[in-house]
Symmetry: C2
Subunit: 138 residues, 2 copies
Amino acid sequence: MSTTSLDVLKRNQLSITDSRKKILELFQVNTGALAHGDIEKKTGDLFDRVTIYRTLQTFVDKGIIHTIPTADNSVLYALCKDECTQGHHHDNHIHFICDNCNVTFCLDHVASPHITLPKGFKEKRIDVVVSGICTNCN
Amino acid sequence: MSTTSLDVLKRNQLSITDSRKKILELFQVNTGALAHGDIEKKTGDLFDRVTIYRTLQTFVDKGIIHTIPTADNSVLYALCKDECTQGHHHDNHIHFICDNCNVTFCLDHVASPHITLPKGFKEKRIDVVVSGICTNCN
DNA sequence: ATAATAATTGCAATTTTGTTGCAAAAATTT
DNA sequence: AAATTTTTGCAACAAAATTGCAATTATTAT
């Protein structure tokens, strides 16, 4: 499966626009997760803030990116693996946030743990966020 | 150990004020977690928005409540277990958010899982948030 | 290729959320 | 009961996010 920004947009039946191409490429180039503010900085005044908000929301809706819950409650976004489809995220991996450099990693090879819930609770989704010190800062 | 709001405040060497008593009682009465907005609604115009922010922050500092990271990045607070002391939270339990009724549960008896991280990553804290359908909505 | 249609963007205005300084009020200490 | 300390409410401010709408851009049909 090809992975150019253009292909991803087409595969998801999205109109091809400068903002969508550019923002998607940012995610593909950067290893870590990105906040809305990061994207604003990296794109300068190419696009309006509102466009960035809407583009991110569109990508989340389509299953192209997913949000990451963080301890300090800032909103982070990261690319989903290919298996994600519209309305159905399978980002079954954990996230790691470095307290030092503040980069967020999607640890794709660390599966979410299985958790036994009390009777009556049905799991649909599980988010695991580990924070500490990353390899680069060690 | 007694659990009236007054006792909790005294134990933590906090001045006894209406807002602190009222807000603490809200947490004690409600099973789930509360957002700043919830508290604002439930207290009407009894207290200023700022007071609520400061009270919540004070409680977090003292280890009376803790924050919960959520996937939609709203800030949630919930009562800590008694073992929490100032500056040292031991909220080593997972959280469950019901997609239906939107209530957040602290599953105190479900411990956070142990996760094996890739080489070089050092864990300091782990947050697990499971979402799905709770007992009441089942 | 071009016109018609549909979708997206940018702007302005607004709303929501959170913070800060300071004087007034309330709680605690003496 | 007075002195001191802490907390509160107000006002102003700042940041983050949302909405409606006209203008622009992309897609579809001709």
